[in-house]
Amino acid sequence: MALLSMKSVKKSFDGVEILKGISLEVNEGEILSIIGPSGSGKSTLLRCATLLEEMDDGELYYNGNAVCKSLDSKAVYESHSKLKKISECFGLVFQNFNLFPHMNVLQNICDAPIRVQKRDKSSVEKEAFALLKKMGLEDRAKAYPFQLSGGQSQRVAIARALALNPKILFFDEPTSALDPELTGEVLKVIKSLSDLDIAMVIVTHEMAFAREISDKVIFMSDGVIVESGTPEEVFASNNERTKNFIGALSK
């Protein structure tokens, strides 16, 4: 059974159809990259998958548990309490980090596991320090977000998402707000997560990175999936639209 399954997802904003029936599956531990031009609906797709946005029509399942089903061409969502339970299995890393500015790094990471998951404080903090070490930030535990560089902020945001032990982690253009140097350090960290056995769905414009890390790549344009397959297949595609996009970016 797929960990994440989306079927014929449709979403419009003010009458403009952004997603025109997207279907995809992600299995446990799998890494999926979604590439495509701006405005193609990649971020909207992630926002639908993470329940930040309600889809108009389509179906969404995590581990076979329905989040919403299509009924008479309308997405019908499950009850709030069911959604809350299902939401525990995924995390999201935002383009602009969205750290909590009034909490220091350690509090940013530990507050949700302690308060939301009601876990023991000392064991959460121990885990948090291990995560910070993995992120190369063990000396920044007491720093506040305004004292961090963009790359450090994003690494803290990744640690914060991981602290809740998600089965699948979404990344919404995690390096788009960073300069090339900082991009490198964040990509390195994401790459290092591939041995954690967490499934990842990454919306990115970093083609070389997508090619190297992914098990599967999806190319989206104008609200539809133009092409999907292994990185080798997509990057060697003969499809005109795909070729143009990848060609333009690797020049």
Binding site: T50, L51, L52, K84, S87, E88, G91, L92, F94, N96, N98, L99, F100, P101, H102, D111, A112, R115, V116, Q117, Y144, P145, F146, R160, A161, L164
Partner: protein, 216 residues
């Protein structure tokens, strides 16, 4: 009569002023938050009622509101009012007036919060009330503190309006003393009192602002 004697004579009034000040603050700050919630409510009727309430409170003089609260029960319902109702009426008048102003300050602060903070909280599993009280409100307080300070300073001076319904607060007493002794000094003493009171308020608010400077 030297200024110290005057101050001693006015002391009971000062206590009443201070009492009105703290009671108003203690009650109107939370009430303002409730009104702000109502104003931001998705339920149209609630939001509209709060809007009208704020509009009336801001659009009419506080002095008039005090009189309505004090004399209203008698004129409208024929209830006889006792002298002890004076202080209560004052506090009610101040609280409903200041809550309206505070509500608008809270609202501006809440609406200035970037949606990313709400989204991050939602993804991390915080409930709606956890999101508000743990993530949003602390940041809102930092943002609105300068505006709150403004209102609090105005409140110190506004306590003198209680004289319109003859509450024996400091200004009422100063006025009486000035006319009975035909002297300016009671007013000088009153001015000093308000000035020093506000100096302390400004100092305390400044300290709180400094305390919140640990993050940006």
């Amino acid at each position: 009569m030297n200024i110290l004697d005057i101050a001693l004579k006015l002391a009971p009034g000062m206590l009443v002023s201070i009492q009105i000040f703290f009671t108003t603050l203690l009650l109107s700050l939370p009430l303002g938050l409730v009104v702000a919630f109502g104003r931001l409510s998705k339920i149209k009727v609630v939001s509209y009622i709060c809007k009208i309430y704020i509009s009336i409170m801001r659009g009419t003089p506080l002095m008039l509101q005090l009189m309505v609260v004090y004399f209203g029960p008698y004129y409208i319902f024929g209830v006889s009012i006792s002298g002890s109702y004076r202080v209560i009426a004052t506090v009610i008048g101040f609280v409903i007036n200041y809550a309206a102003y505070f509500a608008e300050i809270y609202r501006s602060g809440i609406q200035s919060m970037p949606s990313g903070q709400y989204e991050a909280a939602k993804i991390l599993g915080y409930s709606k009330s956890q999101t508000f009280f743990i993530i949003i409100l602390p940041q809102v307080i930092k943002r609105i503190l300068p505006s709150i300070t403004n209102e609090v300073i105005t409140l110190v001076k506004d306590t003198s309006l209680a004289f319109t319904i003859s509450v024996a607060e400091m200004f009422t007493m100063a006025k009486a003393l000035a006319s009975s002794t035909t002297s300016m000094y009671p007013f000088v003493c009153a001015a000093l009192f308000y000035y020093m009171f506000n100096a302390i308020v400004a100092f305390v608010m400044d300290m709180i602002e400094k305390k919140l400077e640990y993050y940006k």
